[in-house]
């Protein structure tokens, strides 16, 4: 090329606006600092109490009892956790943390799986079938979202006691299973499944149950996983209902048991054991989130089609 196509562009040196460039860099740096500052502050606020609990669970009862707030780990880690695991804390009432963890696990898994099963079925009915009163059914489910559990807890308690289900696993789990939130989420997901899949399945000769099993469920896997995480934690954190319905100490869940350890009145609390139990109570939800994080994020953000 001996003759440049555009001689003007070749000749003129591009002008650099140094002042503007510097200002832009400064702004970018400032916004990065601000963002990180806010995030670090947030992490500190959330993490500090947990750190205190962790440290507290490594000292002996006396240290915390004196009113000190230790910030470095102590030397009684193993014995504190062993006590919590095998005997439980608190002065008069003792259920070992191991038993309570198992109880909580049973309850949380049963609630999560039950909620998923029920809400998939009801969302499937509301989305894929047309029957008289379909919208009525949907709204009836939806409206129960507005009612907190506490509002209906007395009638529910009455029903469960009348059915002789007090102090039983079904009595503990079943009232917590009906879930408007999960039904709504599944409904929204099912609505994104193209009509053509339904029609193709009809032509293929797949009935409603087959279509649910072969097409809808496989497509919902990520959503199911995401919901499982949320519902497991919801189940794990149940307090009021297990407190009411379970009197048998061997069926006590860890969230309830933990609060019962903290005595009222003059008795001195064994804070070291309580904190060890708290740390133990924290672990399963953390584990579930950590293990299922990949699925969890995918299920909430991405729709696979």
């Amino acid at each position: 090329m001996d003759a440049p196509a555009n001689p003007v562009a070749l000749r003129a040196e591009p002008v650099r606006d140094d002042a503007l460039l510097r200002a832009t860099r400064r702004r970018a740096l400032l916004s990065r600092l601000l963002a990180h500052g806010a995030l670090i502050l947030g992490v500190l606020i959330v993490a500090f109490p947990i750190y205190m609990t962790l440290v507290g669970s490594t000292h002996d009862a006396g240290t915390i009892g004196r009113g000190d707030v230790p910030l470095v780990p102590g030397a009684h880690t193993v014995e504190n956790y062993a006590t919590a695991w095998n005997e439980g804390g608190g002065r008069s009432q003792t259920t070992p943390a191991s038993t309570m963890l198992v109880n909580s696990l049973i309850m949380a898994v049963a609630i999560a799986l039950g909620k998923i099963a029920i809400s998939i079925l009801s969302a499937y009915a509301v989305v894929f079938f047309s029957f008289p009163g379909r919208m009525l059914a949907f709204w009836a489910i939806f409206i129960t979202l507005m009612l907190p559990v506490e509002v209906r807890i007395i009638p529910t308690f009455q029903v469960i006691v009348d059915l002789n289900l007090g102090n039983t696993w079904p009595g503990l789990v079943i009232p917590l299973i009906a879930s408007a939130t999960a039904t709504l989420l599944f409904r929204q997901f099912f609505l994104t499944i193209p009509d053509e899949f339904v029609e193709a399945a009809k032509i293929d000769g797949a009935g409603p149950v087959r279509f649910l099993r072969d097409v809808v469920l496989p497509l919902s896997l990520t959503n199911i996983a995401a919901l499982f995480v949320i519902l497991f934690i919801y189940g794990w954190n149940q307090y009021l209902w297990p407190l009411l319905i379970i009197n048998d100490r061997s069926m006590e869940t860890i969230v309830v048991g933990l609060s019962k350890m903290i005595g009222r009145g003059d008795a001195q609390n064994e804070w070291n054991t309580i904190m060890a139990t708290a740390v133990l109570a924290l672990l399963p939800p953390v584990l579930v989130v950590a293990l299922m994080q990949r699925w969890f994020v995918r299920g909430l953000t991405e729709t696979e089609k």
């Binding site: 193209p194 053509e196 009809k202 032509i203 000769g205 087959r210 097409v215």
Partner: protein, 356 residues
Amino acid sequence: MATLSLRDVKKSFNATQVLHGIDLEVNDGELVVIVGASGCGKSTLLRIVAGLETPTSGQVVINGRDVTGLEPADRDIAMVFQNYALYPHMTVFGNMAYGLKIRGMARDEIARRVQAAAEILGIGPLLDRKPKQLSGGQRQRVAMGRAIVREPALFLFDEPLSNLDAKLRVQMRAEIRRLQRRLGVTSLFVTHDQVEAMTLGDRLVVMNAGRPAQVAPPMEIFSRPADTYVAGFIGSPAMNFIPASLDQGNGSARLPDGTLIPFADGPRPGTAGTPITLGLRPEHLEPGDGPGSIPLAVELIEPLGSETVVHGRTPAGMAVTARLNGAFSGERLPVRIAPAHLHVFDADTGRRLDPA
């Protein structure tokens, strides 16, 4: 192999009637294309044949068996959807085999059929892939494969090419035609694309507002359109329509400006002075000066390579399109109307007027 007949099929959605009594006979091995603008009821008609919609009245008869009340799965049909409707979590093999599996067919028979179909379509190496890993054309083939393995009496195509890019569409169009010929399966094909309709169909059903405006082989539709709707819909660029009236013992048309155009093929029925519509395809306007030629003021020139489409206006202000061979440039284009290619329609009803 099979025949399909529709007998006075009507469909209303609440108060809106979308199909006003469709009668259609599809012969064994024939490919009939239903073509029309969106909202003309063509997809509804196909879905009624498939059993995905229930007709308000009328009958669907496949191979002499009234299937109107039957489920889609029991009608011995296969359907190719516009967006292919491949199950995303199943492999290509799984997608093609699913319908057979539900039918309880033996495993090795399923494998044999899927292999055979995959070979016909050239998708053998793709059988283990998921739909997400396929290109548009490959997905299209898998959707066809899913229909083929069923070995149905009737293929139904619901605009299967409209999600492909232009080049692939042309290629798949030819492929579908070859395949349909080879398998000899009676087919119903819905499209809004007139080129697709013309090239694919043994016969065309041109739908207009829930009624079949004309049912005929493609070339007959092109050369003898039954009314102004069909005339304007089929052919690109669209036919020019010029208002006129009968004159000279109905042997000529008189244009509003007084020009007389004699009919080449004889007088039309009707009384003198009856208003008519003349139809003339853009390629039948011959450029050239002389007596009876119309000077067009050129407004837009669209060069297409081998030919040029010229949009212009007559001195009376009417928009006219002409298609010329080769290139063209200029401000003025005198054109002559070739009487041999003239279509004559009744101005009121839009129906074609043939020589008495």
